[in-house]
Amino acid sequence: MKKVYINSIASISPQKTFDNSEFLDEVIIHEDQVFFAIEPVYKEYIPPAAARRMAKGIKMGVAASKIALQEANLEQVDAIITGTGMGCLRDSEKFLSGIIDNNEQFLTPTSFIQSTHNTVGGQIALELQCKGYNFTYVHDSNSFESALLDAKLQLELEEAEHILIGGVDELADHTTKLNKIIHHIKDEKASSNNLLDSKTKGTVFGEGANFFVLSNKKQASTYAEVVSVKIFNTLSQNELAETASNFLKENNLTVEAIDAIVLGNNGDVEFDRFYNELSSKLFSNTQQVCYKHLIGEFNTASPFGIWLASKTLKTQSIPSVLKRNDKNTSSLNTILLYNQYRGENHSFTLLKSC
């Protein structure tokens, strides 16, 4: 079986991350219930006429895909696999409120067309004229990990050489309101400085697009090897340590071999216990890294973890704003990532330097 490499990365997030020459050099401290993405100048990536018709999520996805292709020095890929938890939310809200507000009259098709979950994957295919394999996964916090798993399988079996994968989700007003009334979004504003130590229920929501080119050939731009990814629809807190240990064992690794663990803590007092279970016990002596205080929580926030882990492995450094503890790590070669949302759809991902 072939090995699988991350040959390029691209991130549009509530931090200024779209420039790959930087690694959180300048940190934006958000203080709100939702953190909006910092967008690049789109005309560098999308023809303005096309961009005008696209909602934010589509633009972020298409631009991130272009950045990822450029860095991998590719014009074309064999497959495009995207993940999105909520799909094109703004167009969905626009079309749905149109139906309700005007009693099913005076509707135009544009927002319906763009509301389907595979819009971003389809748009990228259209832009690249890529007639290859094209999938969109829509499974909550495992939307991106499903795409990663699928791409890895194809590359290992040499069914493809280069695959563009990505996760994208956008914030939309009505959905934000709804998540506030059910307290999935915190009742109060939270700051990037103290979200992770919050003692209240709910989290802050964010948005963004994180794209990568995965290949079964190493090249100069390569960041890391994707050693393994595993997803679980359910796991209880007391099954977590054992599951993590088994995952390491399957990859012939011990806890000591992990140089850093990237955790998806989002400051929700109800659900961060899953992360704490690992950080306070099995991985208490491991360098712990968190990121959702910078970008907020969304179904495809976890690929931001892959983005920062890739950066870490390549630069051999971890920006202090990401560190939850301070362990002396002489070298950074093996990184474990763990994520879940509200106690469901857990994932473990293992990256190695190369």
Partner: protein, 400 residues
């Protein structure tokens, strides 16, 4: 020839029946499930026809033994019914005996509840439990819960109308690569005002019975449905000494890369998907005995698909028919619905008729199968195409 993946169970609920046996009876008897809409109050009710499932949500909840405070969308309810039938049909007593995953497909997800309570949520607490079941993955989590699939690979695919075909494809690949021993694959989509109005604005809804591959076709009828298959590794099927219903022999996925909602004139994506599927199966076009076409009865699809079929099969186009006239277009579930029909065709050596056809299309001279036809079948090809240029083909075979 390449290795197929064994199918050991199937389940379905659609406008033509609440289980596999009822669906088969309707197919053979030529009984359509298309009617005026009764469960959704829409201003378009006299201008459209749909394929509705008889059961109300309360009846489905009762069948599943759910408590009144559950937050299942109709997509989740329908999916759970069909998936449970598939697992029972596969004779599975304890799902945890083998490493079992679930891959489901949906385009609507929990939109049926969201559209009912969109503003009400803000005012009243009564239905707020449904807010968290809006997202597409929720119906899949619910189906996994109903099947007792825990701590496992569970995911959801949404590639518009090709979704469930892709779920079958991914499931087969996960079995072949040894990632899973067993996987339940399929899709579920319920009727919603959102999709009705969406397709209405695209002006591709027929005001009468849909007529696939007919020169005067006026568009599609929307349908709601769910269907699932159980796929098992050879090792499991052998140890358990299971009756095998058929095999997933080939699959192909391609993108038309032409337009967000329309198919290219000559069906480039569809052609590629069919060719790839033949290649994976190790077949030549001559090996296909019957094509269950996507055949939505829109002007664009049937022309594009017909041309693609001719491109792949040349002068020797096998018997083909669309079963959309029975069920309506069941969107993300369609690939799974038609997988069940393809397996029924193989098991019973029968080709289901393309109903409502009157006039030959001008652009080509291929004609769908119009009467129920008995014929020994070894292989069936099933096509599913969707928005976003997503084209998928799955090939089923009777024997390995």
């Amino acid at each position: 020839m390449s290795q197929g993946v064994a199918i050991t169970g199937m389940g379905i609920i659609s406008a033509i029946g609440n289980n596999v046996a009822e669906n088969f009876r309707s197919l053979v008897e030529g009984k359509k499930g298309i009617s005026r809409i009764s469960k959704i109050n829409t201003i378009h009710k006299d201008a459209i026809m749909v394929g509705e499932i008889e059961y109300t949500n309360s009846q489905l909840e009762l069948l599943l033994g759910l408590t009144p405070n559950n937050n299942y969308s109709r997509t989740g309810l329908l999916g759970a019914i069909a998936a449970k039938e598939a697992v029972a049909n596969a004779g599975i007593k304890n799902i945890a005996t083998y490493k079992t995953g679930l891959i489901s497909a949906t385009s609507v997800g929990g939109m049926d509840m969201t559209e009912q309570y969109y503003y009400d949520y803000l005012e009243h607490e009564t239905h707020r439990r449904y807010i968290a079941s809006h997202h597409a993955g929720d119906s899949t989590q619910k189906i996994a819960e109903q099947l007792g699939i825990n701590k496992s690979l569970v995911t959801t695919i949404s590639t518009a109308c090709s979704s469930a075909a892709n779920a079958i494809m991914l499931g087969a690949r996960l079995i072949k690569s040894g990632q899973l021993d067993r996987v339940v694959v399929g899709g579920s989509d319920c009727m919603s005002k959102f999709t009705i109005n969406g397709f209405k604005t695209l002006m591709i809804l027929s005001d009468t019975y849909n007529t696939p591959f007919d020169e005067n076709r006026k568009g599609l009828n929307l349908g709601e449905a769910a269907a699932f298959l159980v796929l098992e590794s050879d090792a499991v099927a052998k140890v358990e000494n299971k009756p095998i219903l058929g095999y997933v022999k080939g699959y192909g996925n391609a993108n038309d890369a032409f337009h967000q909602t329309a198919s290219s004139d000559h069906g480039d994506g569809a052609t590629l998907a069919m060719e790839k599927a033949l290649q994976v199966a190790g077949y030549t076009p001559k090996d296909i005995d019957y094509i269950n076409a996507h055949g939505t009865a829109t002007g664009n699809n049937d022309l594009s698909e017909g041309r693609a079929i001719i491109r792949v099969f040349g002068e020797e186009v096998p018997d083909f028919s669309s079963t959309k006239a029975y069920t309506g277009h069941t969107l993300a579930a369609a690939g799974a619905i038609e997988a069940v029909y393809s397996i029924l065709a193989l098991q019973n050596n029968v080709i289901f008729p393309n109903l409502n056809f009157k006039t030959q299309m001008n652009e080509f001279n291929i004609t769908p199968q119009l009467e129920l036809k008995e014929k020994t079948l070894q292989t069936v090809m099933s096509n599913s195409f969707g928005f976003g240029g997503n084209c998928s083909t799955v090939i089923f075979s009777k024997n390995q």
